[in-house]
Amino acid sequence: MRLYRLSFAFVTLIFLPSISVAEFPVAPATEDTFLGLVEPFCPESIDPNWRKQQQIENVSISPSPVCAPDNPYDIATFVKGTNNVSMATIMRTQLSPDTLIKKNDLDGDGDPDEIHIRLEVIELNGFSPDQQEPITTYDIAPGIQPGFWAFAPKSRGMSNESFSSTKANTLLRLPSPSIRVEQGDKIIVTLENSHYFPHSIHFHGVDHPFQKENGEGNDGVPQTSNKLTMPGKVFSYELTPRQTGTMVYHCHVQAHTHILMGLIGMFIVEENKPNNWVQTFNVGAGFVRHSSVAVKEKYSQEYDLQYQDLDRELHNLIQQGNDSRLLAKSFNREYNITERTPDYFILNGRSFPYTLRESLIVIKPEEKVKLRVFNAGDEMLSLHTHGFKPTATHLDGVKLSPEARIQRDVFTLGPAQRADLELYARNDGLNNMGEGIWTFHDHNELGVTTDGVYPGGHISSVVFESFLGPNGMPKVQGVDVSPFFTKEFYQRKYPIWNLSDENKLYGEIAKTTESTAKESNEESMDSTQIIILVFQILLLLITLFLIRKTTQKTNA
């Protein structure tokens, strides 16, 4: 009887949809979306005086009207050397007194020709045994902190910007700094290995002998020339480059991971000219606030643009453990580069929108600007400039003959390749199409995303001065950029067109009870969780048993 009733009910249920008239299916409502905490375009902590044109230690420092310019005291010290500036200037930097020694005008032309450079190896966003978050943090975009290693000018004092912050100080960042020297100078580069893995320096394309005068290796390759520079040790490389050009330096120990972790930067050899005090370091690459004599003869400005792509799986390794043996195993024996997929794309150490704070190229009509473009990543870079067709003057640091110079709007560079480009703001429809905010970006579309979210990656802009607002903010007239300055946007939580979309055509769909039930059903426990639960129950029982036993003992 009961069975009969049940089956009847069942059959009725099955046929219910077909016997009742279908109602108009009301789609779920649109939900309000929380935008998240919007970071200011330009943080207030940045000293606006740093942007001004100024003279420090008799070094003229070009204005840098972007939101986050380089510290002018750093620039003055990088031009004069830590041995030729006052203590007061050094104290406005975090440099060590022996970071950069410049002396001996060997050719008598008014500038020092013996240059001693000291580099340390730093880790950013590394593991902390004391807290969930990584430490000595460095954000490439809102909320995005891949682990990095980088070369840095030797510094002093704390790694963090303050005692109550875990943010790295401004010298510790990506990319490894561009290094500039003068042709024919006697250069000594000392690697101070302050990191927990062995490292080396290879001068890629820079004229250097295989051996030093004392017979020690000088090529930085563990397999052929150099012993490993172990943690706590130092090693000096010596070179007197005869040829000029945009070259590279990088670590050559376990190069397939160490280079990609960030141990790579530009090494630029400038023409020998009288009174040519070059800015030895360009921290974070980007705008050169004190260009060499030869560059100033031809160009009004100069920028170093270093592009990198990052595989999250590699960069996260240093956030997964602390033991040096586990780390060595995960880097050298577990990580498999053949499975590499890039997730993040950075220009001068940042992804869009942070590139807008630091990596704008600010220009006036008729200006001629030198761009040194370097692909330090593992993917192809197809750099496209809106509003301009730049001309390549050098490839891999070698000057092109006038007939070999190419003018085009996409320049493709493979890993480790460099191109020196001339960006000419002549409004003739070929060199330039007039004033504006002209984006320049990778046209390999992966490169304009951050973990697959667009817009991100290495997007920046050439901004004409007439389009630059206060605090280095370009006078953009497109969509509201606030969502890009939230963590939620890059966590895929925010519907992209929400602020332009009054009718909420593309808003977030509100959760109905049905979909919530479905979701919670989907989130039912998997086998691991069941095992954990069983384990926890067992543990509870054992604990209770132990407590009981202990209490019984005490009672007895």
Binding site: M87, A88, M91, D98, S128, G157, P231, T528
Partner: protein
Amino acid sequence: MPNKKPLKSISTGSLVALGLSVSSLYSGLQAAETAFETKEIPREKHQPGKMEGMACGANMQMDKTEMVCGSNMRMDVTGMVMYENKEKLPKDCKAISEDVTIEVKAGIDHAKPYPGTVFGLSEHQWEVKPCSRITVEFTNEDEIRHQWMIHGLPKYLYPEGMFHIEVNGKGKKTGTFIVPSSNYTYLVHCDIAQHMEKGMKAQLKVGTGRGDLPSIPGISAAKFADSF
């Protein structure tokens, strides 16, 4: 290796609650040492240019001459001593209770007793009486720089609550500071990125101290330990 991310979608409240109750019971039974947490210090901007008592305009000579910038800082190519205090008593001290000398060595060789660490200190804990005057003789045995940096001191005596010795390569520097009267455990470390995490962490207990800090080699466990 520990995965710091929460386990995939363990969302069931009861599951978490059960886990918590189990772990708390378990740790209660073990009578584990109470981890000492430093208070959240309000954020302030570190301004390298604005150091108290700075009065040094002369060109720095790259030799042995030690630049004295006011009373708070000594610096030369071999390193620096910052915010030294040999005389001024903390408000809560009537007199200096005792003079203590700490000899500490830093370098990769001192990491050997603690497998998996890379940079080490010869000692990781010191105990002193309240209101002690402590002289730190800090020897660096590595070719790179290392620091002996202590945090949490009274800010009216020590700018940013810190006393700091940095030795640039092999060598030794000595500096002195005076601790206040209250029982407290101070963090001592090398603040070069990853040197603390890879072994250069220690604690100074004044009086009875206030528990142990986590992840001090040979003394306390890490909050987020490696799994092997």
